[in-house]
């Protein structure tokens, strides 16, 4: 279906007067808003997409002309991101999460109900152009699945009954806010500028999530310190990055401070795309001031004047909330010029939204994306601390890392090191979901064992625990005495529990493998291809056609992925490799033993089946 290209697209109300505005005028307005700057292409496209609910191919020529870049470069960015579309996606666009946890919590029935009620399949728009149904990777709501984004608003804990009501309301053209009838979530979720039914589910507080945070306390302290002393304090706390890779934060700051450059940048990584992780969402909702204070601290320490908070598209419902906090910070002089009265201390923050891509959480891809390009990780070296955003020295830190540092500054490195273990100091905010009584966010000291965690969250009859999301490890009960720490089970924060009744290979390993296939940027020959071949093998085994050699080959082929450029490709075989290692019997049950190749093909049966399908009588000898 080719969409009609609407000439007059909008009615602009100014006072009593209604003006009709053409599409081209709207697009020009948007481009101007971003100073016709090609490095702001993401923002331009995001605004166009939200204005028209798709990016009409017609406007490409306009953007190309105004930014002086070729069409194909714009297409390159558009076609990379999941939430950009060059065909209409409906007046209402439903994005239903397809993560493993969503399926565990009943996604299948919810999806079927959507299809039945709307009258089209996922990946399509209803014939009247009203409602579009699409699947999407984990949207950061694993503690309240099944969940969907509808026109940017979150609908969590969906049931078939609720889906019927929602579709009825959509068909009645209700405003999206009116359709949220469950009541609003707790804490800041209920603020008018958020107006969301999302729940925080904070179940255990530690120093970061503790009540009684006083905004500005850390800033007032550091403006009396030398930047080098701030870095020394961070180093002394031994804190390491909370985003997954675990790089020592103090060292990162020091390298960046020492890198030559007239301008430097601080990025906060709030892309949180690892399936099963949602703790950064809770921090963004409840502790945004702390986070921004952390960014300003980093700016002071390394000598950066600009901070960029990169937030995943899925958390767009927090935009007004975050903007208000930034505005408030400026009023209080915690952001802006001469912060806390210190003359040479200027720092401000802008928010950069993503548009649906897990790999953009990788720090150099994050920077590429913020420069308006496809989120393709860069070759390293050089590292962002030497050459990052716009080629300048740049720090990328996770949301939680920056918050932790505020506490380090307020209470001191010594205090911070008194928590956790010797090598892993402090606390970790973890996101727990799956088969347990109390899914949600927990702040625990490093050094908790998996058994402690299971007891804490009310999980019994556990078959397996995924620590660190799909790129982490799938462990079996015989390893539940292992501990969460950088030296044992390292995690960016996601812990998923699978009960005894789950089909691990099909519901978990296959789902995770599909996730990596969907999210690869596609630049490396290895990452683009190997996971596809691994999936084919895994499906062969699931269909009882596998032999011993298939398992051996999967392990061999997985090694090739280690030559990929970034962490995505390097870990894309982890679900398969760690399940072969820790759950070998599940594979052994399914394969044909003692055979070199699949010999289960039955000619007579196959002929019978194909004849049945076309109502013919088989003629075989």
């Amino acid at each position: 279906m080719k969409p009609p290209i609407p000439e007059i697209t909008d009615e602009l109300e100014i006072g009593e007067q209604v003006y009709q505005v053409t599409m081209v005028e709207i697009v020009h307005g948007i481009i101007k808003k971003y100073g016709s700057n090609p490095t702001r292409l993401m923002d331009i496209l995001i605004d166009i997409q939200s204005e028209f609910r798709y990016i009409p191919p017609l406007v490409l020529a306009e953007i190309s002309k105004e930014l002086n870049i070729s069409n194909i470069d714009i297409e390159q960015t558009i076609s990379f991101y999941h939430f950009f579309s060059t065909t209409p996606t409906g007046k209402y666009t439903v994005y239903l999460n397809n993560s493993a946890v969503a399926y565990m919590m009943g996604r299948e029935e919810v999806a079927q109900t959507f299809e039945r009620e709307v009258g089209c399949k996922f990946g399509e728009v209803s014939a009247d152009g009203m409602i579009g149904l699409f699947s999407t990777s984990c949207i950061g709501m694993s503690d309240q699945e099944p969940a969907a984004l509808i026109n940017g608003k979150l609908f969590t804990r969906l049931t078939p009954f609720r889906v019927k009501e929602i579709v009825r309301d959509l068909k009645a053209l209700k405003h999206i806010d009116e359709i949220i009838v469950e009541g609003l979530g707790d804490g800041a979720n209920a603020l008018p500028e958020v107006h969301s039914m999302v729940q925080n589910n904070i179940r255990k507080k530690g120093p970061i999530l503790a009540d009684g945070y006083k905004a500005g306390e850390a800033l007032k302290k550091i403006v009396k310190m030398k930047p080098d002393d701030v870095i020394a304090e961070v180093k002394a706390s031994n804190i390491r990055g909370r985003g997954g890779a675990g790089f020592p934060t103090g060292m990162k700051w020091e390298i960046c401070r020492n890198s030559p450059g007239d301008e430097k940048y601080i990025f906060c990584n709030a892309d949180e795309g690892e399936p099963g992780t949602f703790k950064d969402r809770v921090i963004l909702t409840e502790y945004p001031k702390m986070l921004m204070e952390g960014m300003a601290l980093a700016g002071y320490a390394v000598g950066a004047k600009e901070g960029i908070l990169y937030v995943r598209h899925e958390y767009g419902y927090l935009q007004k909330h975050l903007e208000k906090v930034i505005e408030g910070g400026r009023k209080k002089n915690y952001l802006g010029k001469n912060i806390c009265g210190r003359e040479d201390f200027d720092f401000d923050i802008r928010i950069q939204f993503g548009a649906g891509s897990y790999v953009c959480g990788e720090e150099s891809a994050l920077i590429e994306s913020a420069e308006g390009k496809r989120g393709e990780p860069r070759d390293r070296p050089p590292f962002p601390v030497e050459s990052g955003y716009l080629g300048k020295p740049t720090i990328v830190n996770n949301v939680e890392t920056l918050c932790s540092i505020v506490k380090v500054i307020v209470h001191g490195a010594q205090w911070y090191r008194s928590m956790g273990t010797k090598e892993s100091s402090g606390t970790k905010v973890v996101s727990i979901s799956g088969d347990c009584k109390y899914p949600g966010v927990y702040e625990i000291e490093w050094g908790f064992s998996v058994n402690d965690v299971l007891e804490m969250i009310g999980a019994s009859d556990v078959q397996a625990v995924q620590v660190g999301g799909p790129s982490g490890t799938l462990i079996a009960p015989n390893e539940f005495n292992r501990t969460l720490s950088y030296t044992d089970l390292s995690t960016g924060g996601s812990i998923i529990i699978f009960g005894k009744h789950r089909d691990l290979l099909k519901d978990v390993v296959l789902n995770f493998t599909n996730f990596f296939i969907d999210e690869s940027c596609g630049s490396c020959s290895t990452c683009r291809n190997i996971p596809i071949h691994l999936r084919t093998k895994l499906e062969k085994i699931l269909n009882a056609r596998g032999v011993d050699k298939d398992i051996q080959e999967m392990l061999e082929w997985a090694k090739i992925l280690k030559a990929s450029r970034c962490g995505l490709g390097q870990t894309a075989a982890n679900p398969i490799v760690s399940s072969i290692k820790n759950f070998r019997p599940l594979y052994d049950q399914k394969i044909q033993h003692g055979k070199d190749f699949d010999s289960s093909f039955d000619m007579l049966k196959a002929v019978q089946e194909s004849c049945d399908a076309v109502s013919r009588v088989p003629h075989v000898h």
């Binding site: 070729s70 069409n71 070296p381 999210e519 630049s523 683009r528």
Partner: protein
């Protein structure tokens, strides 16, 4: 850390070399007669490690030789049996990812993928053939873009821009769906020289200049008699 330009000492496959800091490992190796297979790299153009064929180890860690600058004390291994098999498996991956029917290809004999397959003595891919359905785009007045043969090395994307720095070529989509597209509007004005440059820079036969064929006859082509890499290796003894 050594500053660019200063002289550093590193070891390649057990032999010590002096080199200018900041130079790519691949360039240092070549200058010293050590051939590291490359595919997406073009000397003189900003590298972007896409094919991963030049993977080596530096102090035991896998890195790409085309993108990593040498630094003091590096212990570089280019030729272990694991690395050789890795490279061969990448060539095999590329053969099954697209449709490479060498006998029918204009680039045969000048094709770097084919030459590497010969060098690695590839008989058949260890991966299952997928025979994907791919298109051939002949809309451009000067070039035919054959998606069956494209190995997504990004050479054309990186090397060929118009006078204003705008791209003729770029990626579309992501993951296993990525493809290199030609800008339809800008592409209309592509000159003969640029079209020829595009064809020459493509390591395979994915970009073919129109209205000419087999300018160099089979038998007289680059890799017909000497294997790829032989020029580097004969350079030194």
């Amino acid at each position: 850390m050594s500053t660019n330009g200063s002289v550093i000492r590193c070891s390649i496959d057990g032999k010590e070399y002096l080199a200018k800091a900041g130079k790519y490992i691949n360039d240092v190796a070549r200058e010293n007669g050590v051939y590291i297979p490359t595919l997406c790299n073009v000397i003189g153009i900003h590298p972007q490690g896409a094919c991963r064929i030049c993977t080596i180890t530096v102090n035991g860690r896998m890195m790409t030789a085309c993108t990593t600058p040498v630094a003091e004390g590096m212990d570089i291994k280019t030729n272990t049996s694991e690395l050789q098999d890795l490279r061969k498996s990448i060539v095999e991956l590329m053969y099954v990812e697209g449709n490479h029917f060498c006998p029918a290809c204009e680039k045969s004999g000048n094709c770097e993928l084919q030459a590497l397959a010969y060098r690695f003595q590839m008989m058949v891919s260890r991966f299952p053939y997928t025979f994907p359905k791919r298109k051939i785009d002949a809309r451009n007045p000067k070039l035919v873009k054959n998606y069956n043969r494209c190995i997504l090395c990004k050479r054309c994307i990186r090397a060929i821009k118009d006078e204003q720095g705008r791209s003729y070529f770029a990626f579309r989509k992501r993951g296993h769906k990525v493809e290199v597209g030609i800008d339809v509007d800008l592409g209309k004005f592509i000159s003969d020289e640029v079209a020829q440059k595009a064809m020459d820079i493509c390591p395979v036969g994915a970009l073919i200049k129109k209205e000419q064929a087999f300018r160099i006859p089979i038998g007289k082509r680059k890799y017909d008699k000497t294997p790829i890499g032989a020029d580097v290796e004969s350079h030194h003894v």
